[in-house]
Amino acid sequence: MVELQGTLVLLILKTLARGPNHGFGIALHIQGASDGLLRVEEGSLYPALHRLERDKLVSAEWKVTGNKRRARYYKLTPAGRKWLAKAEDSWDAMSKGVGRVMRFA
């Protein structure tokens, strides 16, 4: 389980980059895509989502799902997209650096 706040935000935004989704969908995708390696404590997702909404990196609206249920859908805003691009760059740089250190260790 990864505790890093920044990591969770990055994962959420990366997930939303594929298209709008509700909180449950985001949780499922993060679990699925990381082969269950990363398990998000499901509830903690929501305060993070709402903070992203407050900071205008994502926008949200109530919509009806395929099986006629009301769900709150989140969508990347242009600002969120920009933020994600930047964060991905620095993430790449960091993981490369970490990788190098690991190899030498």
């Binding site: 903690s44 305060p47 407050r54």
Partner: protein
């Protein structure tokens, strides 16, 4: 913001979806749900966290603070009212004065790049403004280098008549063809003068001001090209000036004509006002240096004796317009600034007192986890709210004050008619409110609330008390500065008013008029009018004596003649210097009797002196003294326009107003028929301009009607202004009176606020020490001893304030400078009056709480603890 239900629904959806997934995986229904909840975590906590994400914004907490502050103020209406009242006084008076002074000192003039415009010319005695004779102007125009453009207009506004059905008296000025171009003004309708129009004997064309176009021609859009009759001559209107058009000297003509300077013939011609636009990057000093050689070479046009008294002057257009209003503007601005300062210190004190009583509340909030920054923000929000409330109330006060200013103001305050609470002024008010809110909020805000305050110990208050007393002393100091300044202006005013004018102004009425150019251009026609007028005025019942003159003292616009151009029989011609300009008036025999000017020697004019053979004149005492230092002037013969015999010496009149020494002058008698003197029809109005003085004991309103009737019978279309000599003389004191009045008003506000402040601090002190006083009394202190104890503290701080104030006054009153008349900047008499007044008020304010202290009942006081 966000609804709680929304959060719950969002969480519910998640849990249900997870439960369904679990069920699909084969978990029984009830278990599936439970496990879904477990997987989610603490829903209540998470929901709370979600909410916090939205609530905890800066703006939200600001609104929260604001609501809290408003509730607090509503609970303490007396405190709130006092604070808002103080803020309103400070901000309101500052706003009102700023709205007037802004037009004078700061706001840009209605010309393109107004800071590049200058006024230039020569200065000479008797005209405070620079001018240039046409001949010198031609040279300057040709050879100047520091300006992109130089232009002129013929000084002044001449009366002219719109001679159509419904005739109308107008003001006409003459400007050079490039006048509008230099100032960056373009007509809103039609066009500017062309080069072909600004030539001698060119076509008769004119530009019309917006006001005339609106009022007389109903904003007719087809006016350009139309012809109107001015003084009986057809004039084509070529354009209409914009509504905000202003002459650079702030005169108000209705029509502008081309100046049509004639370079070939106008050598030694009219006096011009000259304006120019500086080239980019050229400073005033550089321009001055560049024009100096031109100025020196044009001294050749100045009579040799005159040259030493003539100087070059180049100054900004604003300096020309503001004239002597600058000092008064800054002084008034300083005065209201001082009032605002006192108000801020006052409110800071109130807030500090309130903060002391709120120490426990703050400490509780701090203990519950409010950060220091959060508490400071709360306190600052409160003071900002007070500042803005004060600003709102201040706007109402400013509106009332401004109306009072306009109502009371004397003539000659530049642009007073334009002063208003417009957006720019209101923006200033808002900035002032916020700044004062911050300034009086700082002290209470930085008081660090400490948990120990919860213990109720009182030691923490000592340092705060010292700050409060310093604030009090500061208020007293500033009030003293205000009082001293006001006192000096009042003393100046008193001195000015007690200067003997050399006139008996009571029961003297005046009538002023300018005969129209069309009907009275001829000398003979003027004489016919004046002779007829004399007969008619003499017939009015109740007229003691009367006189017709071209000018009346004290006034500008009096004719002058160079002493050097006169000649005294039996003396060599004057050759050293010009001797300056000597004023003279063209009067009928009743002049001295009507104005109550006594004769020092000889006699006044008589009707016989007007006979064709006789030629007489009268000198003022100063002038007689100057021409004939140790001899009798009566009987001497002097040549002005013609030779005349001095028949009398009249007492001096304060002809430049009470604040200046009497200028020498002489009087020439009007005859019934044209003569040498009446032939000089200069300046453009000639002798058509005249003033009548009538001594009468009849009720002025009744007499005004009678005078008007006689004029109407002579010339029904002639506008006549009726006034009184008393008003005419009084007008000269209007400016000093206005300044003194305003400063006294502001000083009164300052002292009132300071007294309230002192009272507040003393009352608080007494309340805080009630227990101590109780103990003292229980131990045998007499009420007298308690009074001494409390009052001595107030006296000590008042004394500190007075000492600081005295030192400040010595500097501040020096800034009054030219506003003082025969009063030293450190006038002891003013301080002798002002100091006791301030001390009495201060001790009076401290007395009430002291009285309360001396009546403390020891039992109640001790139980209080």
């Amino acid at each position: 913001m966000k609804d709680r239900d929304d959060f719950r629904e969002e969480i519910e959806f998640h849990v249900e979806m997870r439960a369904e997934l679990n069920q699909e995986a084969g978990v029984p229904q009830d278990l599936a749900r439970d496990s879904a909840r477990r997987q989610f975590g603490n829903a209540t906590l998470i929901q709370e966290e979600m909410r916090r994400m939205h609530v905890n914004t800066f703006f939200e907490s600001f609104l929260q603070d604001l609501r809290y502050a408003a509730r607090g103020f509503a609970r303490q209406p007396l405190f709130t009212l006092t604070a808002v009242f103080a803020a309103a006084l400070g901000i309101g008076s500052t706003t009102a004065v700023f709205s007037v002074v802004d037009r004078i000192l700061f706001r840009s003039l209605p010309y393109a790049q107004d800071d590049r415009l200058v006024s230039l010319g020569m200065t000479a005695p008797l005209d405070t403004n620079e001018f240039l004779f046409a001949d010198a102007y031609f040279d300057w125009r040709k050879h100047q280098t520091p300006f992109t453009s130089i232009t002129s207009f013929t000084a002044g506004v001449a009366d002219c008549d719109l001679t159509e059905t419904n005739p109308m008296r107008l003001g006409c000025s003459m400007v050079e063809g490039n006048f509008l171009l230099t100032f960056g003004i373009s007509p809103i309708l039609g066009r500017n003068f062309t080069a072909e129009e600004d030539v001698p004997n060119g076509p008769r064309v004119a530009l019309m001001t917006y006001g005339l176009w609106q009022s007389r021609f109903a904003s007719d859009p087809n006016i350009p090209g139309k012809t109107v009759l001015i003084d009986g001559q057809p004039v084509t209107i070529v354009g209409v000036l914009p509504a905000n058009f202003e002459m650079p000297t702030l005169v108000h003509p209705d029509l502008l004509f081309p100046e049509a300077l004639d370079e070939a013939r106008e050598r030694a011609g009219r006096a011009l006002r000259v304006f120019a636009r500086l080239k980019p990057g050229v400073t005033l000093t550089q321009a001055q240096a560049a024009m100096q050689p031109l100025f020196e070479s044009s001294l050749q046009y100045v009579p040799p004796q005159f040259r030493k008294e003539v100087h070059l002057r180049i100054r900004s257009l604003r300096d020309l317009q503001v004239q002597d209003a600058r000092t008064a503007s800054w002084v008034l601005l300083g005065a209201v600034g001082a009032v605002l300062l006192i108000a801020c210190a006052n409110i800071a004190n109130l807030l500090l007192a309130r903060a002391t009583s709120r120490r426990k509340e703050m400490a509780v909030r701090a203990a519950l986890g409010a950060g220091r920054g959060r508490l400071i923000r709360q306190t600052l929000t409160e003071s900002l709210l007070l500042g803005v409330l004060g600003g709102l109330a201040g706007c109402a006060l400013a509106w009332a004050l401004l109306r009072m200013f306009v109502g009371l103001a004397p003539e000659g305050i530049p642009r007073l008619d334009q002063a208003a609470l417009d957006p720019r002024v209101l923006l200033f008010t808002l900035a002032g409110s916020i700044a004062s809110g911050l300034s009086f909020g700082i002290a209470p805000a930085i008081q660090n609330p400490q948990a120990e305050s919860l213990t109720g110990s009182r030691t923490a208050g000592a340092r705060r008390m010292l700050l409060r007393e310093w604030l009090c002393a500061g208020q007293i100091a500033i009030s003293l500065v205000l009082l001293a300044s006001a006192g000096m202006l009042l003393r100046s005013l008193w001195k000015i008013q007690s200067v003997p004018m050399g006139l008996e102004t009571e029961h003297v009425m005046t009538a002023e008029f300018v005969l129209s150019r069309l009907g009275y251009s001829e000398d003979a026609r003027q004489h016919q009018f004046f002779n007829e007028l004399e007969t008619r005025l003499g017939r009015i019942p109740g007229v003691g004596s009367f006189a017709i003159s071209d000018s009346l003292p004290p006034s500008g616009g009096t004719r002058g003649r160079l002493l050097a151009s006169m000649q005294v029989e039996g003396q060599p011609p004057f050759d050293k210097g010009t001797g300056g300009l000597i004023m003279w008036r063209y009067v009928t025999p009743g002049y001295f009797a009507s104005l109550g000017i006594p004769m020092v020697r000889g006699r006044a004019f008589t009707e016989e002196d007007r006979a064709p053979g006789a030629s007489t004149m009268i000198l003022s005492q100063t002038f007689a003294q100057r021409l004939f230092p140790n001899r009798n002037a009566v009987g001497q013969r002097i040549k002005t326009n013609e030779w005349a015999t001095v028949v009398g010496v009249a007492a001096d009149v304060k002809n430049l107003g009470p604040m200046q020494p009497s200028e020498p002058e002489y009087y020439i008698l009007r005859r019934h028929v044209p003569d040498e003197n009446s032939r000089i029809q200069e300046p453009p109005t000639g002798w058509r301009q005249a003033k009548v003085a009538i001594r009468t004991s009849v009720n002025p309103n009744v007499m005004a009607g009678w005078i008007k009737r006689e004029f109407a019978a002579l010339d029904a279309a002639l506008p006549v202004t009726i006034g009184s000599m008393q008003r005419r003389v009084g007008r000269l004191v209007d400016r000093p009176r206005f300044n003194a009045l305003l400063l006294t008003l502001f000083a009164g506000m300052g002292v009132l606020l300071a007294a309230i402040g002192l009272y507040g601090v003393m009352a608080f002190l007494v309340a805080q020490r009630t227990a101590e006083i109780g103990v003292r009394m229980a131990l045998g202190a007499t009420p007298g001893a308690i009074t001494k104890l409390v009052l001595s503290r107030a006296a000590a701080w008042t004394l500190v304030g007075v000492l600081v104030g005295l030192a400040g006054s010595l500097f501040a009153t020096r800034a009054l400078g030219s506003m003082l008349f025969e009063v030293e900047a450190r006038d002891p008499w003013t301080f002798l009056v002002v100091l006791p007044v301030l001390l009495l008020i201060a001790l009076g304010a401290a007395w009430i709480p002291t009285l309360r202290a001396s009546r403390v009942d020891p039992m109640t006081a001790l139980r209080h603890e």
